[in-house]
């Protein structure tokens, strides 16, 4: 061992060397990450929500890389420069092992500031991004402008949307074992196994279930909301360009849970309107038989209709056993 490491000049010298190595590696690491990895970080950029969350992940990662490298550089440097292979116990005594107030205070201050910044940054993102695509329950605290109006109108069949209208489009997601179906209150309340939404539009997904708990996860849109029976879980996203996305159930819900997925599409506004009006017409006979559009449809454990219809309009009472009586 040289005596260089025990005098104060030596320490400053080591710290400077460590800092230079750390800064260079961090810059290289962050640049490499932002060029080669960042554009491919999930969930992609199919919606504004997805793009913002990708940005958030990337910011977090670019902050984490220097922290990780800081620890690695310090440890490696210490092992290489101060490692004493012949007399291991020396490392646990002497001046070098004493506490260093500056180091401790800096470490606590830097990590605290980083963590507080991340907490503030994340909270800010959730609020400004209207819940960041997560289910906000029946009374969303961070609804985008126009959402409440569109949702209220949807319930009485008065919601409107057309290309260029910039209206929020409410779409209902109904989970059932083992498929999601979708209702479009803006287009007569038709129900479809297909999920198609228009580009450049704020979508209000209203997620519910007819049986057990499912979870609606539209991966590339970055929307994820639990589907609970009797609960309307609202999640918002703003679509960007046309493209495909995958919907998966992300709550273990029974034997075919693994098959509970479908592919959805973001289409141009004109194509979407065309699809919606065509499907509305094609499904009209069945839409007339569906219950009036509502946020939830209460299932029960008995009747096979599950109380999807109001009991007053239900040939099965809620306590009758399935199959006990034929509808007249």
């Amino acid at each position: 061992m040289t005596n260089q490491s025990t005098n104060s000049t030596g320490q400053v010298h080591h710290l400077r060397r460590m800092t230079i190595i750390w800064v260079v590696l961090s810059v290289v690491g962050d640049v490499l990450f932002s060029i080669f990895v960042a554009p491919h970080v999930p969930p992609g950029r199919l919606s504004e929500t997805a793009a913002n969350n990708q940005n958030t992940f990337n910011v977090l990662m670019e902050m984490a890389i220097p922290v990780l490298l800081g620890v690695w550089v310090y440890l490696s440097y210490s092992l290489i420069v101060w490692g004493d292979k012949r007399n291991a116990s020396a490392a646990f005594s002497g001046a070098a092992a004493r506490t260093n107030k500056t180091a401790q205070v800096s470490w606590i201050v830097i990590t605290s500031v980083t963590i507080l910044f991340l907490a503030a940054y994340g909270s800010f993102a959730v609020i400004t991004e209207h819940g960041s695509g997560g289910g906000e329950g029946p009374n969303p605290a961070w609804a985008p402008a126009g959402a409440l109006k569109a949702e209220t109108a949807a319930l009485v069949g008065k919601a409107t949307w057309s290309p260029g209208s910039k209206n929020v489009l409410p779409v209902q997601v109904i989970g059932q074992q083992w498929k999601f179906t979708y209702r479009y209150p803006t287009f007569g309340g038709f129900e479809s196994p297909q999920l198609i939404v228009p580009a450049d539009t704020t979508i209000a997904f209203n997620v519910t279930s007819l049986d057990v708990i499912h979870s609606f996860w539209a991966y590339q849109l970055d929307v994820k909301a639990d589907a609970n029976p009797g609960v309307n879980d609202v999640a918002f996203t703003e679509t960007k360009n046309p493209g495909n996305f995958i919907v998966r159930c992300s709550e273990l819900c029974g034997i075919w849970h693994g098959s509970m997925y479908n592919s959805g599409k973001v289409e141009s506004q004109a194509d979407f309107e065309n699809w919606a009006t065509t499907t509305e017409a094609a499904n009209a006979a069945n839409t007339a038989l569906l219950p009036a559009f509502a946020w939830t449809y209460t299932p029960d454990a008995n009747g096979a209709d599950g109380g999807y219809y109001n009991d007053t309009n239900d040939p099965y009472s809620t306590v009758e056993t399935y199959g006990s009586k034929q509808p007249s």
Binding site: I174, W178, L210, A282, A301, D305, G306, Y316, T321, G323
Partner: protein, 229 residues
């Protein structure tokens, strides 16, 4: 108690817990007998349509395993003409499949009338006892007993129920000439792959939300279409 005693008690209890968890998991993962696949590609001429015949029954009876009271589908073995308890099939890709399903079960209103609409079949239509239909109002007639649906192909067809008040309703498969509805439809298999099919009527009588029993056990109210090139 000595340290050794306490240690062996703890280890013993731990092993019992692990065993119980393992046994439960295995029972959950293998709830029934695995169905075999009926192969419709044997001797199949490319481009020719394939015919599949199924029957859906309210209770499978004692001839097919451990759950005589459960609802089930059965498949007619094209080679022997026998009704077998296999719900999966191997089908040629991009081929028209003519389905004939004999439903011997009673019905009810649907939990979701969405499944009353014929979807994804050729012409979006099916026939009920020879008459074509596109939508079945499950609040009329005898309601819907089951559906045959292939979610990935957007295929869904309701199996219209028979009158549940009949005294000669089938309780022991195969059901032969007992009262039934004959539903036919055709659909096209897509690209090669494994597609699951299932019933969307919560017909697992006596289980929470009607989705237990035959609904939650492979080879009763669902199976696979293995589509091969």
């Amino acid at each position: 108690m000595s340290l050794t005693g306490r240690l062996s008690t703890a280890i013993g209890l731990f092993l019992v817990a692990v065993g119980l968890i393992g046994w439960t998991l295995m029972a959950f993962l293998h709830p029934g007998t695995d169905g075999g696949y009926t192969n419709y590609t044997v001797g199949h001429a490319a481009g020719a349509p394939v015919s599949v015949e199924l029957q859906s029954v309210g209770s499978i009876g004692t001839g097919y395993g451990d759950h005589p009271t459960w609802v089930s589908y059965l498949q007619k073995d094209p080679a022997t003409g026998k009704w077998i308890h296999d719900t999966s099939m191997i089908l040629p890709a991009n081929t028209v499949v003519h389905m004939t399903i004999l439903n011997y079960d009673s019905g009810s209103p649907l939990r979701n009338q969405e499944w009353g609409q014929v979807q994804g079949t050729i012409g979006n239509t099916a026939t009920l006892n020879g008459k074509s239909f596109k939508v079945y109002n499950s609040y009329t007639g005898n309601g819907v007993g089951h559906t045959f649906a292939v979610p990935s192909l957007d295929v869904s067809v309701p199996m219209i129920g028979v009158n549940g008040n009949l005294t000669n309703i089938c309780g022991q498969a195969p059901c032969g000439s007992l009262p039934h509805n004959t539903i036919t439809f055709s659909f096209k298999t897509g690209a090669p792959g494994s597609y699951n099919w299932q019933c969307f009527v919560p017909c697992g009588l006596g289980y929470l939300y009607g989705n237990g029993g035959g609904m939650s056990t492979f080879n009763y109210m669902g199976g696979f279409l293995k589509v091969v090139a």
